[in-house]
């Protein structure tokens, strides 16, 4: 396939994947007795109808993108950080405690200080998992998930105890929340009448920073090398363990910052349920965005739309908001399967051949240069012999898996 053909192919795969996801969603909606068309219309268009809707999408996209950027750093460095939820909570605690404690400081000092405190809180929480992994070889998935539980309990404890708003004790209502943040610590609202806040700039700014960090600096180069093949990196003099800890610190810091921005920009006091599962959705956003800032920003907007649309369906189409979680899950499955289609040259080849058979267009003969050697699954194929190196890399991976089923179709067709 040539370049434009490939692009068209990839685009159609994405469209089919989205259609499949919506199909699965439709079945679920039908099962709960909702109006399918109406539910989809509400989810996908209702939030975009007015300024408030659009700004609310962005309000949700800000923490999502920050968390996803941190996840991308960790994943690229070879460490699977599932603990953004806990790191975000620790960020919220650190940030709000700082804002309350130094309430008298002027705004230009207090805002950055509180955000940095949030970053530090998240970094410490992420760093624990990083150090455990680097020094003791503790599996980071286990440690980060467990640290999530500890963070959640610690958060609840502080909000119901030491950090609880004294007013709540006086009035006796006992809502677990801190006092309102001092005005000096508030992030500015950008549009009157909406909750759109200055955190947007932070998210966009940091997206650019992450891009430069990972792809333009020696530190990023080494982090990616350690993540892609730790052994080769170590043999090349990279201190793999050090970069692993750095990656976890940064990843935690981003999640902590997401918490700080959320509490200083949106809620302005730490309340229960503030993280709202952002820490987990953030992982999906990072993967959906291809672990790249340029993909993460639009992906975070898309999931912001889904989250907001979910709230609206509850009101307007009487579909429980949780049903949208099902839709999210279906989308993830569809995207993961679609990737298989996009990266697997065998499937591509098969589709291309089937396509040319159905529509009678003869398959163009392979250029003479490509009638060449053979990708033994045991040998590495030589990419000089074909025009698509990525496809060949994938071919190496899939050759062994794919062999049993592939190509029965052409064989049958030839009979």
């Amino acid at each position: 396939m040539n370049k434009s053909g490939k692009l068209a192919y990839n685009a159609s795969v994405v469209i089919v994947a989205i259609a499949a996801a919506m199909g699965i969603g439709a079945i679920v909606f039908a099962m709960v007795g909702a109006d399918i068309v109406k539910a989809y219309t509400v989810i996908l268009t209702e939030p975009l109808k007015d300024m408030i809707g659009i700004t609310e999408i962005i309000v949700r996209a800000v923490p999502l993108s920050l968390i996803a950027l941190g996840i991308a750093i960790a994943f690229r460095s070879g460490i699977l950080n599932i603990g953004a939820e806990g790191q975000m909570l620790m960020g919220i605690l650190a940030s709000s405690a700082t804002a309350i404690a130094f309430a008298s400081l002027p705004k230009p000092i207090l805002v950055p200080l509180s955000i940095l405190a949030g970053a530090a809180g998240g970094a410490i929480w992420g760093g624990i998992a990083g150090v455990l992994k680097a020094k003791l070889g503790v599996n980071e998935i286990l440690s980060t998930v467990m640290l999530n539980y500890i963070a959640a309990q610690f958060y609840t404890f502080l909000l119901r105890g030491p950090m609880m708003d004294p007013e709540e004790l006086v009035t006796g209502s006992g809502t677990p929340q801190t006092v309102r943040m001092p005005r000096n610590a508030w992030l500015d609202r950008l549009l009157p009448g909406t909750r759109l806040h200055a955190g947007v700039y932070i998210a966009i700014g940091l997206a650019i920073v992450v891009f430069f960090l990972l792809w333009r600096t020696t530190a990023g180069f080494r982090m990616r090398a350690a993540g892609a093949e730790a052994k080769a990196a170590r043999y090349s003099g990279v201190k793999v363990q050090r970069y692993l800890i750095i990656a976890m610190l940064l990843s935690g810091a981003f999640a902590g910052m997401a918490g700080a921005v959320e509490v200083l920009g949106v809620h302005r006091r730490a309340i229960e349920g503030i993280s709202g599962g952002y820490g987990f959705t953030g992982i999906v956003v990072a993967l959906f965005g291809g672990l790249h800032p340029a993909g993460i920003i639009p992906a975070s907007m898309f999931f912001g739309l889904l989250l907001l649309g979910a709230d609206m369906t509850q009101r307007l189409a009487s579909v429980p908001a949780n049903m949208v979680l099902v839709l999210q899950g279906a989308i993830i499955l569809a995207i993961v399967s679609a990737r298989q289609f996009m990266n697997n040259p065998y499937v591509q080849d098969k589709v291309a051949r089937a396509f040319s058979r159905w529509f009678g267009k003869p398959e163009p003969p392979a250029p003479p240069g490509s009638i060449q050697a053979c990708p033994d699954p045991s040998d590495t194929p030589d990419p000089c012999l074909a025009d698509d190196p990525d496809a060949l890399a994938a071919a190496k991976d899939t050759a062994s898996k794919d062999t049993a089923t592939e190509d029965t179709t052409p064989e049958e067709a030839s009979r």
Binding site: T218, Y235, A373, P375, D376, S378
Partner: protein, 497 residues
């Protein structure tokens, strides 16, 4: 299982396409009873693909397979087993933490009773087979405890237990030591009295020793077929690569290094192996500038004590970064995981060690243009064949990956270079190139420690050859005096001359 013997097996016009590549191009091949057919070709010539088609792992796009003159269709390896065809893969397909008998039982349908596994019958069968073919194996041994040679035997027994009377061996000697290889070849010679064997290899001396007839594959086509005895190894090598190959040899006559101090000197080095054995026991060795010393009989790695110096700088126990910094080049054993980061592009891999140097970065920021220009230069100089320097290095062929590593290590201008199995698994063309490069570096005054299992390689390249036996240097012989026989004896611990 259990059916008529295979008197002849014939492949007719087998064609297999992979995306953008014609892997097998109308291949005809026929193998008769009790004969050994060698299938020879460079990496990526289509040997393994062809055999995978024969095993039912791939389906051919065109062509037929005929057994005893009638056409068969293999939908899966089980179909091939049922016809008595068995394959021993290049990478052993054994479950490490199971016993030999359990491994064999995995594929033996007859041992799987309704609610239990009839291991006793499996063991009986293993003993039968191993007696008949003189393949001693202990059915109760755990696979991970066995040496590579023993595991190879287990693979053979397993295949035979499953009823194979037509054996396909895919580079069976690639992981074996020279002695194990000789044993295997003797064994296969005996087995060929009862079985038909297809032997895939690119080691021509083994082909000469074992096979009756030879087929040479190049770029998916059979380019030559004939009786092995009528052709010399160098004839076959030329047919395989398409040009005359003559491996370069070191010329160390008339060089007196007695006055040189050691550029790379190893003093009283003790190394404890992975399994607690003594890998190196008080080894001392000095390499002069511009000298290649071959090391035979060493394997494994582990804890060490002692002293290693480059140009007078102590490096034993230093960090990798420091050792690199003082001018040590290293071509690691496992090129795919230790030599390169596979998902990184060729140009990134070429600066993997030096990305922090002023040449490639300023204040922590990469100089992308310089890195790209460097890659373009090295690609030219080292004949790295890749679509672009932006290509993922892991997608290149083994030979080209090794060239990337070589380019990086040599372009750094090392004082000393340690090359571990630098040509393992490569085809003749790539070996020739790498040998030439090493000899050129030698001329420039680099001290090169060459560790290899190929005696020929060591003899061709080394000024001196050090033979290690039971962790000690048994003898250091001048390269020009070394013969296969003398080295082989030394490696077995015999010092007589």
């Amino acid at each position: 299982m259990g059916h008529e013997p295979i008197r002849s097996l014939e492949l007719r016009g087998i064609t297999k396409r992979f995306p953008g590549i014609l892997a097998c191009d109308h291949i005809d091949l026929s193998v008769g009873e009790h004969s050994v057919r060698a299938l020879v070709g460079e990496n990526g010539a289509g040997k393994t693909t062809l055999m995978n088609i024969l095993m039912g792992l791939y389906h051919p796009d065109e062509g037929h397979i005929l057994i005893n003159g009638s056409e068969v269709h293999f939908r899966s390896p089980n179909d091939a087993f049922d016809h008595g065809i068995g394959m021993v893969h290049q990478h052993f397909m054994l479950v490490q933490n199971m016993t030999v008998a359990e491994n064999v039982a995995l594929g033996m349908q007859s041992a799987h009773k309704l609610f239990r596994l009839d291991l006793a019958s499996v063991k009986k069968r293993i003993l039968e087979i191993s007696e008949r073919h003189e393949l001693p194996v202990n059915p109760d041994a755990m696979v991970w405890q066995l040496s590579v040679g023993e595991q190879q035997r287990v693979e053979l027994v397993k295949t035979l237990c499953l009823g194979a009377r037509f054996l396909i061996l895919d580079e069976p000697t690639s992981a074996l030591t020279p002695q194990e290889t000789d044993e295997l070849i003797l064994l296969l010679q005996k087995m060929s009295r009862e079985l038909s064997i297809v032997f895939i290899s690119h080691k021509l001396n083994e082909v000469k020793a074992l096979s009756d007839t030879v087929s040479i594959l190049r770029r998916g086509r059979i380019v030559f077929e004939g009786r092995t005895e009528n052709h010399s190894s160098s004839d076959l090598a030329a047919l395989m690569t398409g040009h005359e190959v003559e491996l370069p040899r070191v010329d160390s006559t008339g060089i007196d290094r007695s006055g040189d101090r050691g550029l790379l000197s190893i003093r009283e080095l003790n190394v404890l192996g992975d399994r607690g054995n003594i890998a190196l026991d008080g080894v001392s060795l000095d390499l002069a500038p511009g000298e290649i010393v071959g090391l035979a009989g060493v394997s494994g790695n582990g804890q060490r004590s002692g002293s290693i110096q480059i140009d007078g700088v102590e490096i034993a126990g230093s960090s990798a970064a420091r050792i690199i910094g003082v001018g040590m080049g290293y071509i690691p054993e496992d090129r795919n995981t230790e030599g390169i980061v596979p998902s990184f592009s060729v140009r990134e891999n070429l600066v993997l060690k030096d990305v922090g140097e002023k040449q490639w970065s300023t204040a922590g920021f990469l100089k992308l243009k310089a890195i790209a220009a460097n890659a373009t230069g090295l690609r030219e100089r080292f004949d790295i064949r890749c679509p672009s320097t932006d290509t993922a290095a892991g997608s290149l062929s083994g030979g080209n990956i090794q060239k990337v590593i070589l380019a990086r290590e040599l372009a750094r201008g090392p004082k000393a270079l340690v090359a571990v199995y630098p040509t393992r698994g490569l085809d003749m063309g790539a070996i020739e190139f790498i040998h030439k490069q090493l000899l050129e570096r030698r001329k420039e005054g680099v001290a090169i420690l060459l560790i290899s299992e190929e005696l020929e390689e060591i003899m061709n390249l080394s000024d001196r050859v050090a033979v290690i036996y039971k962790g000690k240097i048994l003898k250091v012989v001048p390269g020009k005096d070394a013969t296969k026989r003398s080295l082989g004896l030394l490696m077995a611990g015999v010092v007589d001359e």
